[in-house]
């Protein structure tokens, strides 16, 4: 046995040990990562659960025309009635033992302030109920809702319900007037300052429109730029200069794009503030470098033999680029696009400058309506003083994660479809 073989044999144990240690370290790192993700998701889900349920209360409402202050015959006046008075008298009738101004006020406070609009909507939808006494379900106030969900005792720290209010609530629960329902309104309403009527539809629609504008602008532009730079552009100082700039752009902090959006898109072009159109354009600026860099890399990865074969058969450079290189590079381009879009989905900083961090109740109907996006909604709720918004915030995070998941699976599906082997 030669000397060097002996050396190899001697070091074998050591080298094996090194590999084992490295493997163990890798596995630990992955395990640790999984643990953190698991903890995060469980925390969000436990915090979010209460937001998906909402307690409702049945109230016997007497739709007296004179109480409403409307003429029984004129149905167009229906939405303008004094529903607050009607609601008050309905609640006080339900609890005749409550007297005194202070007590009455705290009793009325147990019902959501959206209740008067709910009974109005009921009457407008069923005008035949005018003059009748009917049962209408309305939401309870967010404090009551939290109290019922958390299963706690009055007087303990953590409760904004007085002992008196607790006895009234108990009476309602005992007589089965209160019902906990699936909170479908969370998905069908826009933002609200009352946690019980706040929903994500406005922000979700805004996110959808903003992402749509971003995709429609950045994908064709990015791919075209990458294709030109890789396949057609001459290699000279100019293209080098452009390349360096694109790489630098990818590292620019996103707020800078927001400032640019404010100065150029809003102030010079006069596009309307706070709209998905402007938001989409700003986010396009942000995602373009990512898409261009990823697309160029994947175009470069297409083997030259394919280009040469196509050219050998008489294809023009244009045909080579579009019919041969681009389809083969597509999976990589889609991956780059999805990374860029996912970044854009989580951005709030550039949107701050162009007025998309705002309280907007109405669900946007197009790309020129004022809108906000999911991350902004999460931020605004996290910043609201009402306790019930804590659950709403976590629920909104889940919805955002869901949106991301759908977007990514769509991309994965597209990638599979375009994948070709050579």
């Amino acid at each position: 046995m030669s000397d060097s073989t002996q050396k190899v044999i001697n070091s074998l144990k050591k080298r094996h040990r090194k590999e084992k240690v490295f493997r163990a370290a890798g596995a630990t790192a992955i395990g640790f990562g999984f643990l953190l993700v698991f903890l995060l998701i469980t925390d969000i889900i436990t915090k979010a659960t209460p937001a998906f349920k909402q307690n409702w209360i049945a109230i016997e409402v007497d739709f007296q025309p004179d109480l409403l202050g409307i003429d029984g015959l004129d149905l167009t006046r229906l939405p303008k009635g004094d529903y607050r008075t009607v609601l008050r008298s309905a609640i006080f009738e339900m609890m005749p033992e409550v007297s005194g101004r202070r007590d009455k006020r705290s009793l009325f406070g147990l019902i959501s302030s959206s209740a008067e609009f709910e009974i109005r909507n009921h009457l407008v939808a069923n005008p035949a109920d005018l003059g009748k006494k009917v049962t209408v379900w309305v939401k309870v106030d967010d404090d009551v809702d939290s109290y019922l969900k958390d299963d706690v005792v009055v007087g303990e720290p953590g409760i904004r319900i007085s002992e008196k209010q607790a006895t009234w609530i108990k009476k309602w629960v005992d007589s089965e007037l209160i019902e906990s329902r699936w909170n479908s309104e969370f998905f069908s309403l826009g933002d609200s300052r009352e946690p019980e009527s706040a929903g994500v539809k406005g922000a979700l629609t805004g996110t959808f429109y903003t992402m749509l504008v971003t995709l429609v602008l950045s994908f064709p532009l990015g791919v075209a730029a990458a294709l030109y730079l890789e396949e057609f552009a001459p290699k000279n100082r100019w293209t080098d200069f452009i390349e360096v700039n694109i790489n630098n752009l990818a590292a620019v902090p996103s707020i800078v794009f927001g400032l640019l959006g404010l100065a150029v898109i809003i102030n010079i072009f006069g596009l309307p503030r706070s709209t998905p159109l402007v938001g989409g354009i700003v986010l396009t600026l942000m995602t373009l470098p990512t898409i261009i860099i990823a697309s160029r890399a994947s175009i470069k990865a297409v083997p030259p033999s394919i280009r040469e074969a196509a050219m050998g058969l008489g294809a023009s450079r244009m045909q080579v680029a579009f019919s041969h290189v681009l389809p083969l590079a597509m999976p990589g381009i889609i991956t780059g696009t999805i990374i860029g879009m996912a970044q854009a989905l989580g951005e709030t900083a550039p949107l701050l400058m162009i007025g998309m961090v705002a309280f907007i109740v109405d669900v946007p109907g197009g790309i020129t309506d004022p809108a906000t996006v999911m991350p902004v909604q999460i931020y605004l709720w996290a910043d609201s003083p009402e306790r019930a918004f804590v659950a709403k915030t976590s629920a909104a995070i889940l919805v955002l994660l869901g949106f991301l998941l759908i977007m990514n699976s769509f991309a994965a599906f597209m990638r599979k479809k375009f994948e070709k082997r050579w």
């Binding site: 309307p272 706070s274 109405d362 003083p385 009402e386």
Partner: protein, 344 residues
């Protein structure tokens, strides 16, 4: 290239046309007034046929900048402010053609210094707060010189206070709450030293540097604009104090308690009658030129200043607003509905 330019300008023109038809009120400004303004906006949107106003939280100064940029549908109609409009801002407005502005005094907001209920209630004076939080304080020997803040615990500041480490969570300099805190607490604490007070007339810049600088070691921790975060941190650390608006204390009264300042507890009543020393007025400003151009402004003002919202038992008080007294409220309402232009 020419085609691109044409397309871009077409875009801009069509967008201008769209913007000309703006049908919702735009409000910008203070994050302190934001919670109140949004509640009114939401009720206004639900109870009338007008669209719900759009409200941005840009901070008082940022809001004024946008508001005073000019008239026209691309500029906001109203701006919220957690202090009165400054003379310089008023002049900027005038210069840019925003000549007629209506001022609306909404109510008051108290700034509270509070801690977790697990700890005992603090009772501090404004002078003690100044000594605990300023970057430089007068030397202990009584001479007219400044030394870097030496105080480590509250007991060092005053023997009557507990021996806890000074640890205050508060807003950053960009916040209106910080402005008000500095003005109402630090300055007043500063003024309790005669020789510093005398400096105000002689050397205003130096006076400001002494009285407005908050210490930068770990005793004062800037916690961002997110007041909820301060609330969470306070409940996990009973020894820390936090500085924020009264509405947050009101919403979390089960977990937190307000410290007495100059012997006064921060209660709803004490802030309303002005006996609690750290309270500030909340305003919003309306561009009169937009009344009639953007639908609903008059009706929105009517709703905002009504008894049902700003009154003693209005829905804004449920959100923590300290209302004006009845006479003042009626005067504000009359002036606002008549769109009386602001004079500064």
């Amino acid at each position: 290239m020419k085609k691109l330019l044409v397309a871009l300008s077409m875009c801009a023109v069509s967008a201008n046309v769209m913007a000309a038809g703006r049908d919702a009120i735009n409000v910008v400004g203070s994050s302190t007034v934001f919670p109140f303004s949004t509640v009114v906006a939401e009720r206004f949107g639900k109870s009338t046929d007008f669209k719900t106003p759009k409200i941005e939280s840009t901070g008082t100064g940022g809001g004024m900048k946008l508001f005073c940029a000019g008239t026209g549908v691309n500029t906001p109609d109203m701006s919220n402010a957690s202090r009165r409009m400054k003379k310089t801002e008023f002049e900027m407005c005038q210069k840019n053609g925003v000549t007629s502005i209506t001022e609306v005094l909404v109510g008051y907001d108290g700034i509270v210094i509070s801690n977790s209920k697990e700890a005992s209630q603090m009772s501090v004076t404004r002078k003690e707060l100044y000594l605990a939080l300023a970057k430089e304080v007068p030397a202990k020997d009584g001479s007219e010189s400044l030394i870097p803040n030496p105080y480590k615990t509250w007991k060092d500041v005053s023997p009557a206070l507990p021996a806890n480490k000074i640890e205050v969570l508060g807003p950053p300099p960009t916040s209106g709450t910080r402005d008000a805190f500095v003005e109402l607490v630090m300055e007043s604490g500063c003024n309790s030293f005669g020789w510093i007070k005398a400096m105000k007339k002689k050397d205003k810049n130096k006076y400001k540097a002494i009285c407005h600088s908050v210490r930068e070691d770990q005793a004062y921790i800037e916690t961002g604009e997110n007041d909820n975060l301060i609330v969470q941190k306070l409940s996990s650390n009973p020894k820390a104090l936090g500085i924020f608006g009264f509405s947050f204390l009101d919403q979390n009264s089960d977990k937190l308690q307000g410290s007495k300042v100059d012997g006064k507890e921060p209660t709803f009543e004490a802030i309303a009658d002005g006996s609690y020393p750290v309270s500030r007025p909340l305003y919003f400003y309306v561009k009169n030129a937009h009344v009639g151009q953007v639908p609903g402004i008059k009706e929105f003002l009517d709703e905002f200043t009504s008894n049902a919202s700003m009154g003693d038992e209005g829905y804004l008080t449920d959100k923590g607003l300290i209302p004006l007294n009845k006479d003042k409220r009626e005067k504000v309402r009359a002036d606002v509905l008549a769109l009386k232009p602001l004079q500064l």
